[in-house]
């Protein structure tokens, strides 16, 4: 699988290259600035890109802007955005086109190599990987929405994991539930939130995120 990587810190960039190579990814470009990133994204058209939000030359949100620009040119280009902090505002902008293939994680998540690689693969496959902290913030800002309050604690747990972008199987593994039990919970959640049920994992996640983002 071909990967473009953008990270300005030398040590972290090398670490990520090693990690990705060790898991069988082919790092076709490892850039360190915003303009270089957009060029690489459009030229290489990789299977997935891993991008740091803050990049030279302005050290603001160059990486995010380059990612959004690249996705406008190549719709659905899978991009996993890494940052030292997560903002609902950025998550919303990344998800705005509703086409999936988006990840938004805190940088600390690379500490756990397995989970990080899992997230990269999920995004490459057109799925989503949202940081638990983004989801927690989304749920806080939706706390006063009446249907959310009607969810059982277990359904809330399932909703959080689903919003992060995990499949039923992964959720079952995490919560020690059978896949069919998870399926029942998700059906219950969709009924309570008044969303159209869907069998497709990705579309289901996007529906939940769109619901949480609609305020």
């Amino acid at each position: 699988m071909r990967v473009v990587l953008a990270e300005d810190l030398h040590l972290l960039r090398e670490g990520l290259v090693h990690l990705l190579r060790a898991h069988g990814f082919d790092v076709v470009a490892a850039v360190e600035s915003g303009p270089g990133l957009l060029e690489a994204l459009v030229a290489e058209c990789p299977d997935v890109a891993v991008v740091d939000v803050r990049l030279p030359p302005t050290f603001t949100d160059e990486g995010l802007q380059a990612s959004l620009a690249a996705r406008r040119r190549v719709p659905g280009l899978p991009i996993l955005v890494l940052s030292q902090h997560v903002e609902q505002l950025y998550a919303r902008e990344l998800l705005a086109d509703g086409s999936g293939g988006i990840g938004y994680l805190l940088k600390d998540r690379v500490f756990n190599g397995e989970q990080f690689i899992d997230a990269v693969r999920r995004v490459a496959a057109g799925g989503t990987a949202m940081d638990p902290e983004v989801i927690a913030k989304l749920l806080v800002s939706n706390a006063r929405k009446e249907p959310i309050g009607r969810l059982t604690p277990r359904e809330r747990e399932v909703l959080e994991l689903m919003a992060e972008g995990r499949s039923n199987a992964a959720i079952g593994q995490r919560l020690h539930l059978s896949e069919s039990a998870v399926g029942k919970h998700t059906a219950g959640i969709f009924a309570k939130l008044d969303l159209a049920p869907s069998d497709d994992d990705n579309r289901r996640v996007l529906a939940v995120l769109a619901y949480l983002n609609s305020r």
Binding site: E87, K107, F111, R144
Partner: protein
């Protein structure tokens, strides 16, 4: 039209009344001044000045309400209480006192005596009746006319008629110009304004320095007890794992997992700390998006409208951001609100932020530390927080940051201002007497030459000179009007 005239006449009469009251106060003050300066009855001076200040205050309020817009107090700030020395005495010059009474009185006396506003008040109040009579002239004329008619002189009717004819044009203008004069004489001089600003800035600077020091101490403590301590622990854990690597790889592995978890916690703490110092989203996107991000993070249904220019100074943006953050947090915590509206806009060079919520209201800045914190932070930028929070809500907070937007205020350049003033004040001379009136004389064939240049020159040059004069006056008038309108327009553009 009639109502306007009548109300202007009424105001004129009221101003005349106030002027007569002021005259009385001024005479009392004059007596107080003379008695205190000549007979040494100094204790009479402060009450006399207080009376005059009350009278001047009445004029200030009337002028503010009816014509000029608010007229600020011009007085220097009152002196603080005398300071007690370590030995328990109070020093005043080269004399020591046991009690603060005499030094306090001297401080007050000095303050009143040396404030030019005291004497400007007196001058205004002494001349006020003249001004008042001028303002109320139509009413006075009409009253005189009625009295004359009543005592059998029919000419009185003519006076009433003249008053009635003149009043619609005269009365409103007279009230307006009274306001202008009052603002000029009773408003603060540039010096008093500066003195006041220096005082305010000094206080704001002290508070800012204190707040900054406290903030740095808090950051130091947080780093020391949090991230720093955790990094030490991580280092030790890794060291221990290193030693165990050969003998007990399993235990070493467990230790490394622990170290990784500790590093994640340390990062989390640093992230929280950074948010409190300067939120990353503010650094990355500026105020507008940072406020939007804030709105997304609150559980309130928040409506944001932002019309803020880019390129605000970072410290100011930060102060504005934390103010909005605190206000929204208060709405959730204390107000029990469910909906909030945030509006960020510019008015001229000022940045105005309005935060409204539908909570219970009853917020009191003197109680919470949060609101005073906001005020202090804004104070460093001359910003103010106005809070309107009646019991039962809604709560509206308005933050005003003057001069937030740089390079937007443009006073008229001095050179042009002088030209403008010359044009406005002198354009009538070439236009009327030297131009139009001289032309009238010439057409009427009058032999009177008066001071009209056009009639003194040789016959063939007379018309050209007269027409030239008219053109000159017209050009001056038109130019001045055009420039003034242009400047107003550019100012209006700033305010839009």
């Amino acid at each position: 039209m009639v109502r306007r005239t009548l109300s202007a006449l009424g105001r004129g009469v009221a101003l005349l009344g106030a002027a007569l009251l002021g005259e009385a106060a001024a005479l009392v003050m004059l007596a107080g001044v003379l008695l205190s300066l000549m007979l040494g009855l100094v204790f009479l001076f402060p009450p006399a000045v207080r009376l005059a200040r009350a009278a001047a205050g009445l004029h200030r309020r009337l002028a503010g309400r009816w014509s000029a817009g608010p007229v600020d107090d011009p007085y220097l700030p009152a002196p603080g209480p005398p300071v007690r020395q370590p030995d328990g005495w109070y020093r005043d010059g080269r004399t020591l006192y046991k009690t603060p009474v005499v030094p306090a009185f001297n401080l007050r006396l000095n303050w009143l005596l040396k404030d030019p506003a005291t004497w400007r008040d007196l001058a205004f109040l002494l001349t006020a009746p003249l001004l008042g009579t001028a303002v109320a002239a139509p009413a006075v004329l009409a009253a005189g006319g009625v009295l004359l008619t009543a005592s059998g002189v029919p000419a009185g009717l003519a006076a009433v008629a003249v008053a009635a004819a003149v009043a619609p044009w005269y009365a409103p203008r007279a009230v307006a110009s009274y306001g202008g004069v009052a603002a000029l004489l009773l408003g603060p001089t540039e010096r008093a304004r500066l003195a006041r600003q220096v005082n305010r800035l000094a206080a704001a600077r002290d508070e800012a320095v204190d707040a900054q020091a406290a903030e740095l101490r808090r950051i130091e403590r947080d780093l020391h007890d949090g991230a720093q301590a955790r990094l030490v622990a991580i280092g030790m854990t890794i060291g221990a794992a290193e030693e165990l690597l050969a003998s007990d790889p399993q235990a070493a592995r467990a230790l490394l997992v622990k170290a990784r978890e500790a590093s994640a916690t340390a990062l989390q703490e640093l992230r929280r700390l950074v948010r409190g110092i300067h939120p990353p989203v503010l650094a990355e996107r500026g105020l507008a998006d940072a406020v939007r991000a804030l709105a997304l993070d609150t559980p309130l249904q928040t409506h944001v409208t932002v019309d803020a220019p880019e390129g605000l100074e970072a410290p100011l943006e930060s102060a504005a951001y934390f103010a909005v953050s605190e206000l929204l947090a208060n709405a959730v915590r204390h107000g029990g609100a469910s909906e909030a509206w945030v509006d960020v806009s510019t008015h001229g060079s000022a940045l105005r932020i309005t935060v409204t919520d539908d909570g219970r209201g009853g917020a009191d800045p003197s109680r919470g530390t949060g609101l005073t914190g906001i005020e202090r932070r804004l104070g460093a930028f001359d910003g103010v927080l106005a809070l309107n929070s009646p019991l039962g809500g809604p709560t509206t907070a308005v933050i005003d940051l003057p001069r937030a937007v740089r390079g937007r205020t443009r006073p008229v350049p001095t050179g042009r201002a002088v030209t403008l003033a010359v044009c406005w004040t002198l354009c009538w001379i070439p236009l009327f007497p030297q131009g139009l009136v001289a032309a009238g004389f010439k057409i009427a064939g009058s032999t009177e030459k008066a001071w009209f240049l056009g009639l003194h020159v040789a016959e063939p040059y007379q018309w050209p000179v007269i027409i030239g004069m008219i053109l000159l006056g017209g050009t001056m008038l038109a130019g001045a009007a055009l420039q003034t309108a242009k400047h107003r327009e550019s100012r209006a553009g700033e305010c839009a």
